[in-house]
Amino acid sequence: MGVTTASPSPPSSAPATAPATAASLLIILLVGTLVSLLFGVYSSVHDPTGETTIALFFSNTVGMKVWLTTAALLLALLQVLTALRLYGKVTIPKAFPKWLPDAHRLFGTLAFLLTLPVAFHCLWSFGFESTSTQTRRYVHSVAGCLFYGAFASKVLAVRTKRLPGWVLPVIGGITFALLVVLWTTSSLWFFQNREFPGF
């Protein structure tokens, strides 16, 4: 994706010193790993409450989760499309809109924001599904923890200068892929196996 809080910098043309670049990459990777681990540890040791928490302006919690996750995925998709234009991978529109970098940031930030109530309910109410026979929930739990780690890495990568040009698209792509996995193992499953929940 990614879901970012800042617009991506174009690949730097300045010569990067290898040790500094390696150190930056290592820090980015470590922070992402740490965030994922913290979410994983919390959801494993926290005793799931099984309670509904918030529904915001939806009629129930499950409807909120299904639709907010779907909206986050759509916003993330918009961020991927705008990123493609920012990097010149597509040329639609032909004239580069001045507002595109800001729109890119807005899509990503909103997508992240929409995931927060969903993640809160998952972590606090359900916890980590560690039973490997519960494949869908197990994959969802792992992807959820990795998503926030990847997001943290993405934010750091956006704000770190002199990184190789491939870093940001790779981390962004991983973050987006994880969100797709999360949506597939939750909202899509719900649509296919249960119902389209009301708002």
Binding site: G50, W99, L123
Partner: protein, 131 residues
């Protein structure tokens, strides 16, 4: 204008994340699942036998997320206070429903064995009703 909107949304996102983390750490449940009976285990040294499925533990891991830790309901309907025994006059009909699912209730035939479904049904009709 758009830049200002982005800045505002970013501040809200950061604040939202901080609030989420704080709530994760401090929010206490009103009904705690640890009130359920502890999981039974096979005593050390006892081999060659299989512990019977623990209905309470199965309920906690597979049902409480929707029906509440004490069966008080949530995403799914209430089970306690006679609700489940009123809906299903006998255990066999409840077992059949849990296996096949309907409406918002997912089918559990591929998620649990027959013995596990029977154990969790027994739990909902006995222990859970006494809470």
């Amino acid at each position: 204008m758009l830049k200002r909107a982005v800045a505002v949304v970013e501040v809200i996102a950061v604040a939202g994340f901080v609030i989420m983390v704080a709530l994760l750490l401090v929010k206490q449940p009103t009904k705690h699942l640890t009130a359920l009976p502890p999981r039974t285990t096979v005593p050390a040294g006892q081999t060659g036998t299989t512990a019977p499925p623990d209905g309470a533990q199965l309920y906690k891991s597979s049902c409480a997320g929707c029906h509440g830790g004490d069966g008080g309901g949530g995403i799914g309907p209430q089970l306690r206070d006679g609700a489940v025994t009123s809906s299903f006059k006998d255990a066999a009909s409840e077992v059949s429903f849990v296996k096949s699912g309907a409406g918002g209730m997912p089918a559990f035939r591929d998620e649990m064995s027959d013995a596990e479904i029977q154990a969790v049904v027994d739990f909902t009709r006995t222990t859970l009703q006494a809470k």
